[in-house]
Subunit: 220 residues, 8 copies
């Protein structure tokens, strides 16, 4: 039985970014095969939603690889993101439980070469926490807004701020909030104008959506 | 076939309020029978969610009856609510489309002898509209907060205000907001503390929930 | 990457109660950081829905801390609740499987300084168990009514008793009752008047809802 | 194109009852064809859920036919049900809006030759209405219990009474109760033992389920 | 905190059967307390859906207790069911994966003193398996019909057989069949007449429903 | 604003069949424009799910056009299907209410030049109706099996017959069967092997699926 | 009763665009009041999803107003959009039934002063229609991609094109596609990277999301 | 208690293929019993969806048995599939995570004696991967097309290729894609014509559906 898997090598040319590996449903054996390709070519690669037990095995093989436990992001080599240029994208989270999704967006952007900054824990139950930081938030070109439970934060921000807003619902919550469906639907139904939404827990997709805008800005 | 229907005449004694007639699924014939009972006894009665075509027929029969088109509230005699005492309950609506549910709460409370005030159209997409009226809203004993679409208003108010808050989702919206299920689930999943929720479009139930609290206050 | 989390320190002033820590989705590391703040300030703090394995580690660190296995409630110091004053809030459960949610409401109220009493296991399948205790139940100011399966208890109580009733659906059940959605919807759809509802398994939210009413009573 | 439709003429022999015509989705033309067959053979036939506009046309054709507006039941000749024998089946409804489903069960049983009695409007929001009639209800062999909204009545009756109970959810209600799904799920999830359930608004199915039991009793 | 749980001791008198213990959501500690009561009184008791790990601990304590791994049924003393009287209730399963639910019905009936017989594995994908045993199946008073996947067996049997049929959907299946919801809805929507349905995997409830009919037969 | 719509003229070449017009959501004006194109070229065209009010207007314009009220099928010229060649495809319906979907499949096949035969009303509630015609049904190359309510017919046929079976759920039913979702899921979950399924009410899609098989047969 | 509704007059200042009127759920009376305000101030205003019967009445009052039947867009004065500057935003639709949503996006952008171009009917069932126009589509800054049924078009375009893509699901379809939920979920679940999504039929929201990006571009 | 399970031994005669064992829900004990039957008769047998822990035990017993970890397929003896005849069925997968379902289809066909070929990883996010292999894909008689996430691949292939297409949704994905429901509904709602669909992850069912067509071809 033929088992050749096909990397979309032309993607960078078409879209401006490389193919990324979805780690959650792949076996260590398959991931090892794929990573070897990249390692041999001495190019970095991004793996998303990699479970900790699988990451440990891969980290033993690739001593200089990077893994973030909160988000499951794995890269063959860590990205240096400490340079002093200003962050163009603000990643805003409603609660500290949203940290994994925030990190997924952050490291994806870093891998794509885009500087961002995370602002944690300014959900609408304590509105002043958001209002206090409004000036700082206004300075970003694009906002990625992450929330679980009832997902109200993007709506409130959408009424206060003029930038493009990409809303990310998270699966944080229980009962009616379990699985993130309520936050997702609330964001799609938002009475605030011009917010767009990505899949539940999809920090990676939000980063790519922001990246497409950044590319457009750079083209101008 | 026996067709006797049973009025719960003891309810006032047990609960402090009379049985109320759910009008939406009753025929004009049945409603006429029931209203005759009350009319003969010269007591007022409250009918909820009465459709306009049925209301017209009943208004012809009972010339002094009252009907509100927005909410479908019908009473055998109108309630005089203009007295100068202060409103104890604030009925806050997110958008002007929520007017029917707001009226249902308002007239139910009036029928129960409780003064309330409606504040329209201060949804979170324009946050300053809410913040501008915060002092006035603080003066109410109890808040009934009504919202369709993503239903974020009770969450924001719950983070700003200490009173009992009864949240009412409405069926205003389309797509993912159609039917009010998203607003309902968002309110139940709220990250704000101590908000309780009633059925979609149930302004009547919110009024009764507030009425139970008022009775408790009066007992003290 | 900035990892500062923001405590809503103004909440007590705005709402009359402190911020509470949702334990279920936080790592032991993060919880340790947060608890240290409170421990240093020698103030108590409430953590909800804390899993047993995480609680064990924290209990080793904080020898005088309190943990309730049924509900997952954790506090830095136990609340003394044995004083002789009468309970103002009745916490009524339909079945013995609802005990965890009942405890969550009980300890939350205790932490807020409010005395309550739990009455277990008087669900409607054996109606006389409820009817036998009706007089006692009438003596409470506010009722928190907890039920899984079909969630009929609040409806029956709402028809018998005049107090404010906060209904809490639980995730006890299987098949059509799995996850608590049926109990939730039944409570929201209740034909009894003026019952309000909180999220599935949300004993904490019911306690806070009752606390808002108690504050209102005390203001008068 | 062949358009012959097939009547299940053997059903009476196999199951003890004739095939019944589901009227809701058939055109007047098709119904006319089918009824002609029965009319020619001078045998009665039962049509269920027939809409009023279609019934009117058929009533003009068959002057001695019977039609009940509440339930949409149609028969070529009315059933005489006034005889003095005692009703064996109690049809209990929670609210007056459930009348259509109660009638569907009643007339189906009558058509099958079984005497029943309807007791209207004893839902659990006014529990004494049920308790007052408990002795009468105990006298029936089998109970068909009909309820919309949260559907709690069968649960309460199942805890009080030992007979076979067939629960019928109705589509009466709005918001979370719309369409009858909540009542259905509540009845299936009932904590009371040994209640069985039929489809939403399916008074006909409940009658047939009772009829199967009656046949069993008669065999003994 | 008061922790008294209330046994419904009057149930036998009202309904003809004792209260039964739902084992799935109770701790070993609580179950131990409850079983002690029965053991002290030297009466048997039925526990349903008891997980294997909990059963093992209880079996060590009660050496003469009975536990069935397939169904999770636990009794303080085994029921002798080998007597030669004929089975009155046929328990019919569509596939061998439905064995647990079939056993739950079987042992519940045995505990109630009613003889039944299980016929395994005659689902409609091999129709002749059912047709071959039709004569035997006709001999039972009542049929409990159990099926997972698409749940078609009760429909086919309902068209062939005149007895009361209690349909039990099971959670056997994957994809669209996962959790049993499809089998449940198919049974409720059945085009066959007079089938009634209980909750998913509820072999116990089906047994109790049959028991109510048996009691009625015995009364006659 | 450019309003040019694009006909997929290459489809016949790629797939062996022309583009077909979905009529339900197009205005009369747009349909008129599209039909004019075909009329001018003197080629026939198939329109599906066309509402009666719109069909009437178009029939006035195109005097030789064909319209079937049951299915909403419209063609510029009727297809002569009376020739004596044997039907290759059997269209089997469970109940007479499924007639519209059966016709949609029938006329689509006729338009594609494939002879089929409809066998009405042999649902599983009267199994002998199916068994009586088994030999005839065996003679078809391919079976399209149509059912509403619980959708059990394809499962039973799949266990009896070796041909390719395309199952079509219909939206016939009420309560749990409303909209056809139950029939759809039951067919997908079928315990019978090798049945494939198309969208609810999609007689057209079933015909095209059969057509693809016929083309394959002809190629051989 | 106070009936003052509150226009968010500060919105232009905060967000760069005026408040827009959601027309679907407002009465003609209320709309007349609101439009009078704008008419008196001689400023234009945008009303969305206005039903035809209500539009006719308003068009009689405001003779120079503009109304588009496909989308329900209403403006006090028509926007002149014929200027020769190039369109910056491409509005791509999968089928001709998506025309209403495409128009809603188009006129909203026009009202905001942004030139766009609609390309109709290039859905993936005829892939060459899309491939043929790829060069033209590459020239737009931002893409709004509209599709009903299974909603695959944005996924395919997202794999071919590097621009920001805002996907809009439509409620075009029947059976499993009814209401647009399937298209919505497919777009959110897309395997293509960096697509963001708005509510079903929300052409207006997609336009606003694009407008936020345009504003960002202009700021640079 | 009788525990005889019934093998459908006549199935081969009726349908052309043997009964297959669904392994997921059967205990090792039961599987051992069943396999012994086949082993004694020295005939091969196919078991589907067998979990790894159970397979290990059975592999110890049957040393020459075959087990595929990706799909859970188990056979008493491996099938030799290397012969040089051309594959008649193309099994096309969208992503490498779909490998288990592809294998299930592949080995089922092999067991039935039908040669197939798997083509991995040509999902629509990189369209050229599909277009590059179009000629090869055209050569197959029948296509089984497997996709998770948004499930767009069958739609795109259905627009390009004329063969029978059996679409298989997989449970690969998270958030809105979790469990495979989105891919399932997208495939059923496909705008491409004549695609039919089987249950989520049902590679086995797709193989049987293809097998029915192959039998039909062979008959000709």
């Amino acid at each position: 039985m033929d088992k050749t898997f096909v990397i979309d090598e032309d993607r960078k040319h078409r879209l401006g970014f490389e193919e990324v590996i979805y780690g959650a449903s792949k076996s260590v054996a398959l991931l090892t095969d794929i990573l070897k390709d990249y390692s041999d070519k001495k190019t970095n690669v991004l793996v998303t939603k990699l479970q900790e037990n699988k990451a440990k095995i891969l980290l033993e093989k690739y001593k200089t690889a990077f893994y973030d436990e909160e988000s499951g992001i794995f890269m063959l080599s860590a990205i240096d993101n400490n340079e002093e240029k200003a962050a163009r994208i603000g990643i805003i989270s409603a609660g500290s439980s949203d940290i994994g999704v925030a990190h997924e967006a952050y490291y994806t952007l870093a891998y794509m070469g885009v500087k961002s900054k995370i602002i944690h824990d300014i959900g609408v139950a304590g509105l002043h926490r958001l209002l206090n930081r409004l000036e700082e938030i206004k300075s970003f070109d694009i906002l990625i807004v992450i929330a679980g439970f009832e997902g109200a934060l993007p709506t409130v921000m959408g009424g206060l701020l003029p930038q493009p807003i990409i809303a990310v619902p998270t699966s944080v919550g229980y009962g009616t909030g379990k699985g993130g469906e309520t936050a997702l639907r609330a964001m799609l139904t938002s009475c605030a104008n011009g917010i767009s939404v990505v899949n539940i827990d999809n920090g990676y997709g939000a980063a790519l959506s922001a990246f497409r805008m950044i590319k457009l800005l750079e083209k101008k």
